[in-house]
């Protein structure tokens, strides 16, 4: 346990510090794929700094909720991200908070964001919130089903245990886990407002989802929300890395070399996943809004199938 808390603290700082870079890298890769030079990978940090320094403009009819929401969104997302083992497992907070807590924290953040979108009473905020909730009604159960599949497979809802189980000899290849992976990827695309569900770079008011809800935000409020969005992307990629490619993650008491290796491998995994995300986003157009529930419905069905398969295949024992 002695190494636990320093690791947990390092993890808290790491996810926050690394998240803008990850977004910067995905933007850079996308720009290069589109034969543009692209902004520097540290541009998201500069954007955050710029926004923090700027004056906050709040709509006249905004309530306290509008002002409080950014901080709640940021705090819940940050805590959720800190619960996912990144470069080392055995996080002390992990024992208290499992995968289901992560889903709940993200749900809280989404709830606040949707409320904030409605709070000012502009039509775009309303459209954004309504679409977000439409998507969420499928994305959240899909996420939960994927979580259940993994938990049943590994016999635990705690991420460190799942990660350790995946490394162990009893894991092997499983159709259920593959289904859960696909479900998780689909949910990750939807939750992070990526193409084909939403376009993080759009300027078209009528097609926005995430951007529509935060249209009225400015200054440090916007900075905090943007930072939460960066952290959320990092969270999902970390989650996928932690569960499906757990190799090299340092275990408690691994020693300095073990931690350094874990850190290096983690950075490599993130970079690879970010690259794949950009390639995927470049190769596909955005869906019609009403196609998105079908898309997320696929994730839900895959999660459900994964869970059922586990029960069916274990029945004789």
């Amino acid at each position: 346990m002695r190494t636990g808390w320093p690791t947990q603290l390092a993890q808290l700082i790491l996810v926050l510090g690394l998240a803008p870079l990850l977004t910067g890298v995905t933007r850079k890769v996308r720009a290069r794929l589109l034969r543009r030079r692209g902004a520097s990978v540290v541009q998201p940090y500069r954007d955050l700094l710029k926004l923090i320094r700027k004056e906050v403009v709040v709509a006249e009819n905004a309530s306290w909720l509008f002002r409080a929401a950014p901080y709640v969104i940021f705090a819940t997302t940050w805590v959720a991200a800190a619960l996912v083992p990144t470069f080392a497992t055995g996080l002390p907070l992990g024992a208290a908070a499992d995968l289901i807590v992560i889903v709940a924290l993200l749900g809280t953040a989404r709830f606040m964001l949707a409320l904030a979108g409605l709070d000012v009473g502009t039509s775009f905020g309303g459209i954004g919130s309504s679409r977000e909730m439409m998507f969420a009604s499928l994305a959240e159960p899909a996420m939960l089903m994927a979580v259940f599949t993994l938990s049943l497979f590994a016999g635990s809802t705690e991420l460190s245990s799942i990660s350790a189980f995946m490394l162990g000899p009893r894991a092997g290849l499983s159709i259920s886990v593959a289904l859960a992976l696909v479900a998780l990827i689909i949910v990750a695309l939807g939750e992070n407002a990526r193409i084909p569900v939403d376009n993080p770079a759009t300027h078209l008011e009528l097609t926005m989802v995430h951007e529509a809800m935060i249209l009225e935000y400015s200054g440090r409020h916007l900075a905090v929300i943007e930072a939460a969005a960066f952290v959320k992307l990092l969270l999902y990629l970390s989650l996928i890395a932690c569960v499906f490619v757990p190799w090299g993650t340092a275990v408690a008491g691994a020693g300095l070399f073990g931690y350094a290796l874990g850190l290096g491998l983690y950075a490599g995994k993130l970079a690879l996943l970010g690259f794949l995300l950009s390639v995927f986003e470049t190769a596909i157009a955005k869906m019609r809004v009403f196609r998105v529930p079908e898309f997320l419905g696929v994730a839900l069905m895959l999660g459900l199938l994964g869970t059922m398969l586990l029960f069916v295949s274990r029945a004789p024992h």
Partner: protein
């Protein structure tokens, strides 16, 4: 139909080119009925001092006729009462000339938002603007349970021109869209009066920047026809070369932008590269990327050198090599096709009734291209094949553009080998004592641009009307979006790509 209506009336001697006749209220009514029955197309309707003109096209005979009705005591009968597409044109001429259009079903102001310093600025005696604030604009209603309004614009989140869109939606489905335009009104038709021909040509070239060649072309043709002058043959060909280059550049930009609105950024980037190559070739061949002010009444200002010819030839070669790959990408990307196919359909009936210009009309089976159906030199001796699709959706409008790019490239390649020699500009003849007038139609990339010019003593412009094709396609956008979802509006809007500036004038 035109003959039946106008055979007994003698054309006015002052109007050169297509005939113009003065008609009475009965004939005006007969025109309205012919428009309603679809026997004639309304190309334009515009005001004048104490009169209202309309330009009619008969698809069966490819004839064009201008008809004029006098506005007695500031009142003229309406065509919109028979033929809805005339509505906005009549609302605009009422705003500009203070003519009361009797019977016009929609009496709301159109271009005049109540913020001009005067009212009826083009009338002989403009009225001072009323001191009291003008009444709020009343948008058309849609009633039903759960309907809500979504106002969009006039200031948009992107860098585009200003225009207001009022959506009434049921959830995501659009029940009604109403446009409100006029935010970029610059008073061009007022400002152009009294200018010399060359001065006016510069102003006409700036009505809508992306169509500067087409506007200069249309204006020059109207002036030359009014003055009975003909530019040298080489100038005629160079004009068409510029017009086709403009069309290629704009269509490439549009195809990319439409795909970008479906968040398929790759085609946007690739088309952007080809468009940039086109503009650079234009800059090297004609000394200006957009070829602004290169066409003037009397000819063109810049001759095409042998090097310039090579530049354009190289561009054509590049386009024939690289563009097909992009078409294949467009056609084979299922996720993109899913967005464009079946979205924003304009029915064949509406396209015909509104005389839908350019790709909007041709994507909905309307067989009209001014280069083919009202051919002007050099297209009369070097014809193009018209590009038509029948589906009327976003995909069809993209395909018409794709086909037009390809055909323009082919046309350029054959034209470059056939350019006549000789001078490129002649002096215009001196003006006659009496005023003369003419109307010209030129096919810009958006569709047919109609220009009416009356030129008086000292070669000064007395009246100039520049009708952007967007006047006829903007109303169709309202019809195209009906029953679609809100999130598909940007895609539909971009596939129309109407001009705000050209419309608001």
């Amino acid at each position: 139909m035109l003959r039946a209506l106008f055979a007994e009336l003698s054309p006015l001697a002052t109007h050169r080119g297509w005939p113009r006749v003065a008609v009475d209220a009965d004939t005006w009514r007969a025109i309205g009925e012919a428009l309603r029955e679809g026997k004639l197309d309304l190309l334009a309707e515009w005001g004048d001092a104490g009169a209202v003109h309309c330009a009619l096209y008969e698809p069966a005979t490819r004839g064009v006729q201008i008809a004029t009705i006098a506005a007695h005591e500031g009142r003229a009968p309406s065509l919109a009462v028979f033929h809805a597409p005339a509505s906005r044109l009549e609302r605009a001429l009422a705003d500009l000339y203070g003519i009361e259009v009797v019977g016009l079903p929609d009496q709301r102001a159109w271009l005049d938002h109540g913020r001009w310093p005067v009212r009826a600025p083009l009338a002989a005696q403009p009225r001072p603007a009323s001191a009291s604030a003008s009444p709020a604009y009343r948008f058309l209603e849609a009633q039903g349970p759960g309907l809500h309004q979504v106002p969009v614009g006039p200031v948009h989140a992107g860098i585009i021109e200003p225009g207001h869109f009022r959506f009434t939606a049921s959830g995501e489905t659009v029940v009604r869209l109403e446009e409100r335009l006029g935010y970029t009104h610059k008073g061009i038709e007022k400002s152009i009066v009294g200018r010399s021909v060359n001065d006016a040509a510069r102003l006409a070239a700036r009505v809508s920047g992306d169509s500067t060649v087409a506007y200069s072309f249309a204006f020059a043709r109207a002036i030359e026809a009014a003055l009975d002058s003909s530019p040298p043959p080489r100038a005629l060909w160079l004009r068409a070369v510029m017009a086709e280059l403009e069309r290629i550049a704009n269509h490439l930009g549009d195809i990319g932008a439409i795909c970008n609105d479906a968040s398929f950024a790759m085609l946007h980037a690739e088309c952007g590269i080809l468009r940039e190559r086109t503009l650079r070739a234009c800059a090297r061949a004609f000394g200006h990327r957009l070829m602004m002010d290169r066409i003037v009444p009397g000819g063109v200002t810049t001759d095409l050198t042998a090097d310039g010819e090579k530049e354009i030839g190289a561009l054509c070669t590049r386009l024939t090599r690289e563009f097909p790959e992009l078409i294949e990408l467009y056609d084979n990307t299922a996720s993109l096709q899913d967005r464009t196919v079946g979205t924003g359909i304009v029915s064949t009936r509406l396209a015909a009734a509104f005389a839908a210009p350019g790709y909007v009309g041709r994507a909905s089976s309307r067989l009209f291209d001014a280069r083919v159906h009202l051919p002007y030199p050099p297209y009369d001796v070097a014809p193009l094949e018209i590009a038509v699709r029948h589906e009327g959706d976003v995909d069809a409008r993209v395909w018409v553009r794709i086909l037009e790019v390809q055909r323009s490239v082919l046309w350029l390649q054959s034209a470059l080998g056939a350019l006549p020699g000789g001078p490129v500009r002649l002096a215009l003849p001196a003006a006659t004592a009496e005023s003369t007038e003419s109307t010209a139609v030129v096919e810009g990339f958006r569709g047919d641009i109609l220009t009416y010019v009356r030129i008086g003593a000292g070669q000064l412009i007395e009246r100039c009307h520049l009708r952007d094709p967007s006047w006829l396609s903007w109303p169709l956008l309202e019809a195209a979006i009906e029953g679609n979802i809100l999130a598909d509006f940007p895609l539909c809007n971009k596939s129309f790509n109407c001009s705000y500036s050209g419309h608001d004038l």
